[in-house]
């Protein structure tokens, strides 16, 4: 009887291979994923820079916003903003955030620059077991963003430091979601930004 239970147990166990061996990232894949994550985040900030500067056509803005919303962020992706004078940040959906930045840029050009200050590395990727048993990962990287709302054009001077009506430097943290997906019937890893939050703001 005991033998029977044991055999049945083994058969039952063996009949759920997905539970036994969920695909996980190899070390080499983790390295590649981290590079991809960095590219995606840089891609987002590159677009923010252009929208804020308002130096591109509306048609191009639409393309860029679509690219970021569909290719860089999860549908529920959000971005937080916080002014140096505010205690609380404001979180918007990614589409809303990009439209707000584009709208601000139209009123008054904004200079945005950034640098990645804390890259995502393989050891920072945290595995997560989902309800269906699959494994996904999350990781974070940090970016320092310079933000300068320019004064009206008739007030601009050669003194570059004095040309900002408002200026701050923000440390932002991007949370990256890495999950298993299907593409053309093949199993692939998807890399998206889940959210971007504000860690600190310093008025310049």
């Amino acid at each position: 009887m005991l033998m029977r239970i044991l055999v049945c147990g083994l058969l039952l166990f063996a009949s759920f291979p997905p539970l036994l061996a969920q695909p996980t990232l190899t070390e080499a894949e983790k390295v590649a994923i981290c590079k991809k994550a960095s590219q995606v985040v840089r891609g987002f900030f590159d677009v923010v820079e252009r929208l804020a500067a308002n130096d591109i056509k509306d048609k191009t803005k639409k393309i860029l916003i679509k690219t970021v919303v569909e290719d860089y962020f999860l549908p529920e992706g959000t971005v937080e903003e916080k002014a140096s004078s505010s205690k609380k940040g404001l979180t918007r959906s990614i589409r809303n955030y990009l439209n707000v930045i584009a709208g601000r840029g139209q009123k008054s050009p904004i200079l945005v620059n950034y640098e990645v200050v804390d890259n995502l590395t393989p050891n920072k990727l945290k595995p997560k077991t989902n309800q269906d048993g699959s494994i996904s990962y999350e990781g974070k990287l940090r970016v320092r963003q310079f933000y300068c709302k320019l004064k009206p054009s008739d007030q601009l001077s050669d003194d570059l430091t004095g040309n900002c009506a408002y200026s701050d430097t923000t440390i932002k943290e991007a949370t990256i979601a890495i999950r298993r997906g299907k593409s053309n019937h093949d199993a692939v890893w998807e890399v998206f930004i889940l959210n971007i939050t504000v860690i600190s703001v310093t008025k310049n």
Partner: protein, 298 residues
């Protein structure tokens, strides 16, 4: 080259491009140098007129036992000096040909052989290249291109084709130079002579043209608007309407396949991609080309 698929190696990204073509017979290659002395006035949407269609066509059923005969075409603007001022004019000429050529490749070629096995030293279909020459008179032109055939575009394209192909198919020549009369240079009509230049290093497939187009797309000196406006042309020239890009990374990491336009749109503002390098080209499944391109990031 159409139906592009891409494999991206992250930070060092590769692109696989699926082009097309189908054939029953092994292709024959030859070089065709067209020396012109004026802008041919071609543009991407223009339909090539009859002489050009004959000159650049791939299939010559009446001349080469139904073989596909692929001209590797170089166009020399002899009236333009080789300097930077003229560089801008040349792609205009090139783009018209290159836009026409992939379509022709789809329509005309029925290549099924594996190019790698068939032609180890000439793996890839050729592309059109354009280079500037030096401002020359008729005598200099003839001196610069010994053995060239001087002819006019007014002449029957079919007659030209038959004349060229009779030599190509018979294996007498692998290279033909035509000096096309008109424009600034005045040259005597129709001089036929033998050209015995052998093909040594074939011009690579449209991968070069693709890489050139991508390089322009990632050129930071161009505004995002300019880069954005290039995309439809690149898609039209190199990809099928359902062309896709597949990203791959180190460790054989696989990322989602995405429409080619989405990928190109992501390059509009990219500041990190500094170079795109063609890694490998091969015929895939007898219909399409796969080209891997490596992205170099800062």
């Amino acid at each position: 080259m159409k139906n592009i698929k891409k494999i991206l190696f992250l930070s060092t990204i590769a692109v696989a491009l699926l082009g097309s073509g189908c054939s029953n017979d092994g292709p024959k290659f030859y070089t065709l140098t067209l020396v012109v002395t004026q802008d041919l006035g071609l543009n991407e949407n223009a339909i090539l007129n009859e002489p050009w269609q004959y000159l650049l066509n791939y299939k010559f059923p009446d001349s080469c036992d139904n073989a596909v005969v692929i001209p590797e075409v170089t166009i020399v603007r002899a009236d333009l000096a080789s300097n930077k001022d003229n560089e801008a004019q040349i792609p205009l000429l090139l783009s018209g040909f290159n836009a026409w050529r992939p379509k022709s490749l789809i329509n005309e070629m029925m290549i099924q052989e594996d190019y790698d096995a068939l032609l180890p030293n000439m793996k890839y279909p050729p592309i059109l290249t354009v280079k500037s020459g030096k401002t020359v008179d008729a005598a200099s032109l003839l001196a610069n291109y010994p053995g060239a055939i001087v002819t006019s575009l007014d002449k029957s394209g079919e007659a030209l084709r038959k004349m060229m192909l009779s030599q190509i198919c018979a294996g007498e020549k692998k290279s033909i130079t035509l000096i096309l009369t008109g424009g600034a240079a005045t040259v005597p009509p129709m001089i036929t002579a033998a050209d015995t230049t052998e093909i040594e290093s074939p011009t690579p497939i449209a991968g070069d043209a693709l890489a050139a187009a991508f390089s322009t797309l990632i050129d930071l000196k161009k505004s995002p608007d300019e880069r954005s406006e290039m995309i439809s042309g690149i898609v039209e020239q190199f990809f099928t309407s359902d062309g896709t890009i597949e990203e791959m990374g180190e460790g054989n990491l696989r990322l989602p396949v995405k429409p080619v336009e989405n990928y190109l749109n992501s390059l509009i503002t990219s500041r990190t991609i500094v170079r795109l390098e063609i890694l490998d080209r091969k015929m895939k499944d007898g219909r399409c080309w796969t080209v891997k391109i490596k992205e170099h990031h800062q």
